[in-house]
């Protein structure tokens, strides 16, 4: 027997993780790994009034197969007077704890809690540890109260942390235990897994108190004893009996998180049905609806197979819950679309969760829901962004607030926050920290930030600088606070607060649970994602306009059912996709002429391929070459062929990567699932290295070349957190197709609906309107007697000659919603007071009860042009209140005219200021006419220029983008009166000409034309800032980083 086994066993029962925000200095994972390494028998994670960290600890124990018992508990400060820990021996105790935490949290603002001693009285099942303060009189009062009022087993916990008063404290504890008849045990108030986290713990304390470590004084702990101490050391510090008592308590704890079984809300199944029979019933109904001409036998078979799988996995309630939500949305005419691993099934098609017709696109349900991969089914439902709240309210109303809550999102320290807060806690000047933050380029792959920061003036030799760098690295990824997930709901059968604590979110009347989506996934709870999507609002509005003006009643499924329309794809192949969902960005646009989508599945690929994942994994070019027949398609094996065939042998979707790991490297379903999770966060956690060996070895033993295996691994890493799943892309592709179809056949309705759904998408109103006009849609200005709040369609008096396909004859009348500074109440009042035949005098508008700022905004927008003179004069008139008083109402306004008339450029500037767009001439054409620009090539003329020829272009800067995927390259979009010009600037160019690059609003670029397929770029050389030509011009460029 070695010496170690002579030691008494130990269970640490008091340990906070970094989910006790700004207190704990170790991740839950680190704590359990270290506790297991020290041969602790058990570890209780007892975060302060929280169980937010326990799931991570639980999953780490499972993942690393640790021999350690995890105890769930929480620490509380009661009445802000004494400290206790509650531990959960059983499921009932766990429910008690969650309820108690919920109570204590719900009475306070986000992030705080308040627990009163009376809250403890109802406890029946928890175990209680009490930590005396060392003030005997006060402690004996507390102890007496605990003994006489509470009905749970309790212990007095002694903690020897080698503080100055350790001996008195210990004596006090013993006296209390004696007098009040408490059993004693020992614990260590653990705040970190290793002693060397003390600096970080001090920094966290300083951040919490808003001070620096130098001046935090006695608020910092005096030593680093609050760590997981080796058992040899504990044996010296504590009597054997106390150590044994910890084991005794641990042995009473039988609760494990795996016992949490989620129970589905029962009300989705009506009386007389079982969940299975009801789901079957709904699918039958849907089948008849969806397949009016009879259900093909292949579809019937597929449905049976899918239902069998659903029943086997017991997911019927999940599908029914979502079916119920979309039924509500449908009844309210809220447009929606499901996506995710299970959404693209025939069952979901029949339940009308998705409008993607699976028979048209040959998607296999099994591809998305897989028994062996052991993932819970994932269905996200997007709703119209302006109406999602109605769906959320429906959930609360149907299930009650005690049964439905939103999942949490854990906000962690990111680089910038880490630099700022650690720097402040170390006493660096805020301006210096700002300087570091603004000048460090985290994308720079050549130079790590640690090197860059020394170039910015941080002395790398100074000890404080070294601490700074080390602590910033340590704190990144530390949780900071919980906030609400974008739309993930957890709905339970019984009270949710017996499953997980609920706390307040920042938003009024919103509550979040203490777990995030990973935790929920770990515990196999189901969540329903209720998301908001702007494009759905736009599509619904377009449908509305089409029904109103053309009497055509469309829906997404019906457009999807028309099949792949070559005319619509023809438009997309020309990169004519402004406003089209997902494929309107510049990067997407430049891919369209190369990929030339011809059918629905091409769109699915197009959406997924222009992503950082495939780009960084270098999958785009091989795919294009193979598609063009320039490169042979080879598969190293039939298994690989089965996975990659539909994407020509190149992995493009996240699902393919996972499947590849399974078929080629022999990963089990569970391992593949771990790989999927590791992929999402490998940059943060570096967990991928664990898989590298396994993947490469797995592949080589199965006969793949090491080279091929290495390439696959690189592609997986490249995918990283940006890998796009096919199951989402398939749903997005439908929205892309529907929006493209609308753009082609009903362009006026399409642009009008888009404009009415802003803010959304990629383009500003100005850009959308210019695109509309380039498509021969007439756009009419805002006019006091003709505009509504929204933009509207009006019959054109003289229809343009348009090709027969599109439904022309309508112009867009801009609405008042575009006028900056005009309140919605003002618009309402204006609409209510507008006479049937319109206002005939300015005076009437003034007397319509609008406020002075509203009137001024209206005047500046030139909406009053038909009643009055120029906008300067009108605004001047609108600035007095005299005429609104009844006494003066009949008087003619005094003759107080301004003699100022706006010039064409002033008009343009005013247009931009009050509506952010102009229908008048483009600034570039005004400047050109005034002969203030040198000879240049217009956007529309670029296609006639030769490849590699030298050109000068001039335009308004409307976008700047430096994607992380292209090192150092910036894409600038210039706009002139004929269209957009795509300029590519290399790092050298931008570095040497920072001033024009960073600040110009009107930019002249001399450079060389690059043409490939139908994609035209100008590679910029000399940049000239011409902003001074238009003083006061304020076009907003949209900058992406």
């Amino acid at each position: 027997m070695n010496a170690r086994s002579d030691l008494t066993g130990y269970a640490e029962l008091h340990c906070v993780s970094n989910f006790s925000f700004l207190r704990g200095a170790s991740h839950p994972e680190e704590l359990v790994i270290q506790a297991a390494a020290l041969n602790y028998h058990a570890l209780a994670i007892t975060d302060e009034c929280s169980v937010a960290g326990v799931v991570r600890a639980y999953s780490a124990i499972k993942r690393h197969k640790l021999k350690l018992k995890l105890i769930v508990g929480a620490e509380f400060s009661v009445n802000e007077q004494f400290k206790i820990v509650l531990l959960c021996p059983s499921r009932q105790a766990y429910a008690e704890l969650c309820t108690l935490i919920t109570e204590a949290r719900r009475r306070c603002d986000k992030g705080h809690y308040q627990l009163f001693s009376n809250d403890l009285i109802p406890l029946k099942h928890c175990l209680l540890l009490w930590f005396p303060t060392g003030q005997y009189r006060q402690d004996s009062q507390t102890g007496r109260w605990l003994k006489s009022h509470l009905n749970v087993p309790m212990w007095l916990a002694c903690e020897r942390l080698l503080a100055h008063d350790a001996q008195q404290h210990l004596a006090c504890c013993h006296k209390l235990a004696d007098k009040l008849n408490f059993s004693t045990l020992c614990s260590s108030d653990v705040h970190m897994h290793e002693q060397n986290r003390q600096p970080l713990q001090d920094i966290l304390t300083a951040i919490r108190l808003g001070t620096t470590v130098q001046s935090a004084g006695f608020a910092l702990y005096s030593n680093s004893e609050r760590y997981l101490r080796p058992r040899e050391k504990l044996a010296k510090l504590y009597p054997k009996a106390q150590l044994e008592q910890t084991l005794e308590v641990a042995n009473q704890c039988h609760f494990c998180l795996s016992q949490l079984s989620y129970e589905y809300p029962a009300e989705v199944v009506p009386q007389g049905y079982s969940a299975q029979s009801y789901l079957k019933h709904l699918v039958e109904l849907g089948k008849a609806q969806r397949f009016k001409d009879g259900v093909p036998s292949s579809v019937s078979e597929l449905i049976d197979k899918e239902l069998a799988l659903i029943f086997e996995q017991q997911y019927e309630y999940f599908f029914l819950t979502i079916a119920d939500l979309v039924r509500f949305a449908k009844s309210q005419h809220i447009l929606y679309q499901g996506r995710g691993s299970a959404a693209n099934s025939v069952v979901c098609y029949c339940l009308e969760i998705t409008a993607v017709n699976p028979t048209k696109v040959d998607l296999l349900f099994e591809r998305f829901i897989s028994k062996e991969r052991n993932e819970p089914p994932d269905i996200d439902v997007d709703f119209e962004h302006e109406r999602r709240e109605e769906v959320i309210q429906y959930i609360y109303q149907k299930y009650g607030r005690h049964r439905a809550a939103i999942a949490a999102t854990v906000h962690s320290f990111k680089f910038k926050g880490a630099v700022r807060e650690v720097g402040k806690a170390l006493g660096f000047a805020p301006t210096q920290l700002d300087f570091f933050i603004k000048n460090i380029n985290r994308r720079d792959k050549q130079q790590r930030w640690q090197e860059q920061i020394t170039l910015l003036g941080l002395d790398p030799q100074a000890p404080l600088s070294r601490w700074f760098i080390a602590l910033v690295e340590q704190i990144i990824g530390f949780p900071r606070h919980l906030s609400q997930h974008v739309g993930g709901f957890v709905i339970a059968k019984g009270p949710l607060h017996e499953l997980v604590p609920i706390e307040n979110a920042t938003m009024k009347d919103r509550t979040v649970i203490q777990w995030d989506k990973d935790d929920i996934e770990t515990l196999k709870l189901l969540k329903v994602d209720v998301l908001a999507l702007g494009m759905l609002s736009a599509i619904r509005k377009a449908f509305g306009l089409i029904a109103q003006h053309w009497q055509h009643h469309l829906c997404m499924a019906s457009i999807g059912a028309t099949g792949d329309d070559p005319k619509v794809y023809g438009m997309l192949q020309k990169a004519d996709s402004v406003g089209v969902f997902q494929i309107e960005s510049r990067a997407q646009m430049s891919m369209l002429p190369r990929l030339k989508p011809r059918n629905y599945y091409d769109l699915v690929i197009q959406i997924a391929i222009v992503r950082p994942g495939p780009i960084q994994g270098d999958m785009v070019h091989p795919y294009l070459r193979r598609r063009d027949g320039l490169e042979a398609i080879e598969y190293p094996s039939n298994e690989v062929k089965s996975v990659l065939e539909r994407t020509l042998g190149v992995p493009i979707f996240q699902e393919q990567v996972i499947k590849l790991a399974m078929v080629a490297a022999g990963f089990s379903g569970g391992e593949a699932d771990q790989l999927r999770r590791a992929m999402a966060s490998w940059k943060k956690t570096g967990e991928m290295t664990v898989f590298r060996h396994k993947l490469i070895e797995g592949m080589t033993t199965r006969g793949y070349s090491a080279d091929y295996a290495e390439r696959i691994f690189k592609q997986i890493c490249g995918f990283g957190e940006y890998g796009f799943p096919e199951s989402h892309s398939a749903s997005f592709a439908l929205l892309a197709y529907v929006s493209a179809w609308l753009k082609y056949y009903y362009p006026a309705a399409f642009y009008c609906a888009l404009l009415n759904s802003l803010p959304m998408g990629f383009y500003s109103p100005s850009q959308l309107i210019q695109d509309a006009r380039r498509h021969n849609i007439e756009v009419l200005p805002i006019a006091i007697n003709h505009s509504q709040n929204d933009h509207t369609l009006v019959r054109q008096t003289q229809p343009n000659n348009r090709d027969n396909d599109s439904h022309g004859g309508y112009a867009i009348r801009l609405g008042f919603r575009l006028v900056k500074g005009l309140s919605s109440q003002g618009i309402e009042r204006l609409m209510a007071r507008r006479p049937k035949d319109g206002f005939s005098q300015l005076k009437q508008v003034q007397q319509s009860g609008l406020t002075r700022p509203d009137l001024a905004a209206l005047a500046s927008s030139d909406a009053l042009a038909e009643l009055a003179g120029n906008r300067f004069e009108t605004r001047w008139q609108m600035m007095t209140t005299e005429h609104t008083l009844p006494l003066f109402a009949e008087l003619e306004p005094a003759q107080e005219h301004l003699s100022l008339k706006p010039s064409e450029i002033e008009d343009l500037i005013e247009d931009h200021q009050s509506t952010s767009l102009t229908l008048k001439r483009h600034p570039i054409s005004i400047l050109a006419e005034q002969q203030r620009l040198q000879h240049h090539v217009k956007a529309s003329e670029l296609s006639a220029c030769r490849h590699k020829s030298v050109v000068t272009v001039i335009g308004v800067v409307t976008g700047k983008q430096s994607p992380g995927t292209a090192s150092g390259v910036t894409f600038v979009t210039l706009e002139d009166d004929t269209g957009n010009i795509n300029v590519v600037l290399w790092q050298g160019t931008t570095r040497a000409q920072k001033q024009p690059f960073l600040t110009a609003k009107i930019l002249q670029v001399s450079g060389i034309i690059e043409k490939k397929d139908e994609v035209i770029h100008v590679i910029g050389g000399k940049l000239t800032d011409l902003t001074h030509l238009l003083e006061g011009f304020s076009a907003k460029s949209r900058d992406f980083h």
Binding site: L162, Q214, L220, S222, P463
Partner: protein
């Protein structure tokens, strides 16, 4: 009549830094881009030529400025530096020019009309002003106008050449942009939106119509610019100091003898202070010797803790210093000059306290400091620091009310050795360990286990050992 010359100093803090750098390096050819940053707005508020050349502009956000120029130095704006510099400039100019008005934070207004008879012409006057400013190495812009507000606007705009033709000045004023006027941003925006861009356009509008729409603030701003007569202003007065020189009738070789003439001088000073209801905390006594080459003047600084004006108090303090003097050479003259003049504080004026025998704490401290030197009188303070040697501190900054000390973290010895000594004998450990591991961020990190112990003589001591195993004695409990 253009009676006011306004000098605008856009970058006083930056100029001060540049001047210092130039003096240190003796070379200003290599100017690096430098900006002064307003930390509140996070915007550039002063910049040098080199930064300007890199494309940096005033009011630019720091992010943009930093990305335009990689080797940018930046300094946080400290308003008090500008303020002090402005006063100094006034003082320098005052040596040549009367009638100066300080217009904080960045300007001086000079009334030209009164000085022209002295200088003969504006050109001469202007040359004098410029020579002072050049010598002071400040960046400035200047303008002449009929009142301070107008001159200030022109000077601040920094675009117009200095003119003393009234018509030209009017024209320059009319060209000013509305955003250059001291108007609220909302008003400027409103004016732009009705097409009014310049002061000229604004002045052309009927006063009443304008007032109806823009209210009093805009009107009064315009009035202030148009006003022919300057509003009453407070002219700059150099600060008063007490200074008195006394030539002795005969050379004095013994310090004691100096006390007699000093009595008269101090009495005079005391009267001076009393009349102004002021007091001083410090005075300089200068002893002048015959041969200045051989024996430069001896200066003695005498301080009182807290302000004092009374003759006998000062006399006592001076007496203490002078008695201990060894004169290097006979004295032929004496100067007393006061330090900063302070408004008199209310001292204890209780009706029935007998004053002669009692000394206030302040007085006691002053006397002790005068006797043994300021550095030797200290107070003990406690710092919130886990490290024992940093938990106690001495300060010679004595204030009448010392703050309450923080409670000690644990049992601490009354006598702490200046430096811990290695342990050389046997001790009996009584209590401990108390582990202190702290201050990893400093050069004086500690990692120690402290014990209370008894030495062979029975003294209760404070010992610690370090991870290496060595033991030290750091203090004694009494």
């Amino acid at each position: 009549m253009l009676t006011w010359l306004y000098l605008h100093f856009p970058s006083l803090q930056l100029d001060a830094i540049q001047a210092q750098k130039t003096a240190e390096q003796n070379d200003d050819s290599h100017q690096t881009p430098l900006i002064v940053l307003d930390p509140k707005q996070n915007q550039v508020c002063q910049l040098n030529q080199s930064a300007f050349e890199q494309g940096i502009r005033l009011n630019m956000g720091m992010a943009t400025a930093a990305s335009l120029c990689a080797d940018l130095s930046l300094v946080a704006y400290q308003p008090h530096i500008d303020e002090t510099r402005l006063k100094e400039l006034a003082q320098w100019l005052y040596q040549h020019i009367a009638d100066i008005v300080i217009c904080p934070p960045k300007g001086l207004a000079l009334k030209v009309s009164n000085m022209l008879s002295l200088y003969g012409s504006f050109e001469h006057y202007w040359q004098q002003v410029v020579s002072v400013l050049i010598q002071q190495q400040v960046t400035f812009s200047a303008a002449l106008a009929h009142n301070i507000d107008a001159a200030q606007l022109l000077a601040k705009s920094g675009q117009c050449p200095l003119s003393h033709d009234p018509n030209e000045v009017s024209r320059q004023l009319e060209c000013l942009l509305v955003e250059q006027l001291p108007l609220a941003a909302t008003h400027v925006e409103q004016l732009h939106r009705i097409g009014i861009k310049t002061l000229g356009q604004l002045l052309a509008i009927d006063r009443r119509s304008l007032g109806k729409r823009f209210g009093l603030e805009v009107l009064s701003t315009i009035e202030a610019i148009k006003r022919k007569q300057q509003r009453p202003v407070v002219f700059y007065q150099p600060p008063e100091h007490y200074s008195q020189y006394l030539e002795l009738f005969h050379e004095v070789a013994q310090a004691q003898v100096l006390l007699f003439p000093l009595k008269r001088m101090v009495k005079h000073m005391s009267l001076f202070l009393q009349k102004r209801d002021q007091e001083i905390a410090e005075l300089t006594l200068t002893l002048h010797h015959r041969d200045k080459q051989l024996h430069p003047d001896t200066s003695i600084i005498i301080g009182s803790s807290g302000g004092e004006y009374r003759f006998d108090q000062w006399m006592t303090l001076i007496g203490l210093k002078v008695e201990r003097l060894n004169l290097a050479a006979p004295v032929v003259g004496l100067t007393i000059s006061s330090g900063q003049m302070l408004d008199k504080q209310c001292h204890n004026t209780e009706l029935l306290t007998s004053s002669n025998s009692k000394m206030s704490n302040n007085q006691l401290i002053s006397r002790l400091q005068a006797k043994v030197g300021k550095a030797h009188i200290c107070a003990m303070t406690l710092q919130a620091d886990h490290r024992p040697e940093f938990a106690f501190d001495y300060t010679s900054e004595l204030k009448p009310q010392m703050p309450e000390p923080q409670p000690l973290p644990g049992p601490r010895p009354l006598i702490l050795l200046p430096e811990a000594k290695p342990v050389t004998q046997k001790y009996q450990l009584l209590h401990g360990p108390e582990r202190i591991r702290s201050a990893w961020w400093s050069d004086n990190a500690v990692y120690r286990d402290y014990f209370i112990a008894r030495d062979p003589h029975g003294a209760i001591c404070w010992l610690y050992n370090e991870p290496g195993g060595s033991w030290f004695l750091q203090g004694y409990f009494c």
